[in-house]
Symmetry: C2
Subunit: 201 residues, 2 copies
DNA sequence: GACTATAATATACTAATGTATAGTTATTGT
DNA sequence: ACAATAACTATACATTAGTATATTATAGTC
């Protein structure tokens, strides 16, 4: 789709990316010219050539108004900032400021759309599903889930991961560890479904 | 350390951050003034006040030359770009371009220092350690590891996760699954130790 | 051979942008 | 009561920076 850049264009495109990364804003055409010891117009023509090939877009008239269209993730990584929630006070929404402990950045490309939050796993009740104490679980917020899905449910002011099993009239929450029993109830408050697990060693 | 911002300053600081996030470059003083329906000098004075309080730095004379000093991570997330390596051709280094399939962004604050790379797990040989088929394993590159550590070792052009056990003269690689046997050798080429696991559902 | 793209220079023009002067009004702490 | 800070206006000026004209030279393509 996008035409290949010439060596010079490649070098200039790289310089633009590095400038943004270093200073936080794109260079002017004169700054580009200076870097490569060429005149303003030389740099300007290169910039326009790179734009024509679809690698970036310049807003006409504005200074330093270079928007990257290719390799954006080199400069602005494509991540999602997910709130990590701790103990959840009854009554208030899960994502209320009071519940948010910190934020974690994870690759947005690998996560589902929708409202996400993260829990720090306590205990070994889901060890059979490869979810360990201390793991960070990313949850996609939703009030219901499919049979057999791993869900976050609110039990005693704690968001807990369990396997959801629905039968005729009852809802069951299973653990992935024989040591733990099954919780059965008429209705259960589901916070969301498991979207990802992150663990550090 | 840093003085608190006034409400107006807070709003302007937020606008600057959002502008960078949206367009990729900071606003001019006139763009700030426009947003808040104040004159150029009004916006300029606010900018200088915010700078004086240490939240940002303006390079004199340059356009849009606003460098964030506080809350940088809101705009430029603090992530590490980790190469995901696939099949490893014998003889060439693990991190050679030929081996790199893609990159994954993970939070640098939760990862160790040093050279990192990632593997996509194939098979269920480490299921007992909560490492499943399809998981992404982040490896810290090192040629040796402690006894009992989970390591990535090179077996038949594949980087494989195993538990390292060292005895008097031999090195053993254990699986975390009874179905698999133990590999024993005089020496083994260790690529690194397990630093993190990332899994999506 | 005509044509297009690349890579330049020198010079110039204009629009965009940072910075300054001079003043107003209100608020707050000493 | 006074000084300092905040939050503005209107106007002006100088510099920065994008854009244009005209020109040269080389290399590959139809």
């Amino acid at each position: 789709m996008v035409k290949p850049l010439t060596k010079k264009q490649e070098a200039i495109f790289l310089f633009i990316k590095q400038s943004i990364k270093k200073t936080g804003f794109p260079p002017t055409v004169r700054e580009i010219g200076n870097q490569f010891s060429i005149t303003v117009k030389g740099a300007y023509d290169h910039l326009k050539a790179i734009e024509k090939k679809g690698y970036l877009h310049c807003e006409a008239g504005k200074s330093r108004a270079i928007e990257l269209l290719v390799n954006k993730e080199d400069v602005y990584p494509d991540v999602c900032s997910i709130p990590v929630v701790g103990t959840i006070a009854a009554g208030i929404p899960v994502l209320a400021q009071e519940n948010i402990e910190s934020y974690i950045q994870l690759p947005s490309g690998l996560l589902p759309q929708g409202t996400l939050f993260a829990l720090r796993i306590k205990g070994d009740s889901m060890i059979g599903a490869g979810i360990f104490n201390g793991d960070i679980a990313v949850i996609k917020q939703q009030s219901d889930a499919n049979n057999g899905a791993i869900v976050a449910a609110l039990l005693d002011d704690e968001a807990t991961l369990k396997i959801l099993k629905k039968t005729e009239r009852k809802v069951h929450l299973l653990s992935a560890n024989e040591k733990y029993g099954v919780i059965t109830a008429d209705t259960i408050s589901i916070l969301g479904t498991l979207a990802a697990i992150f663990r550090t060693y």
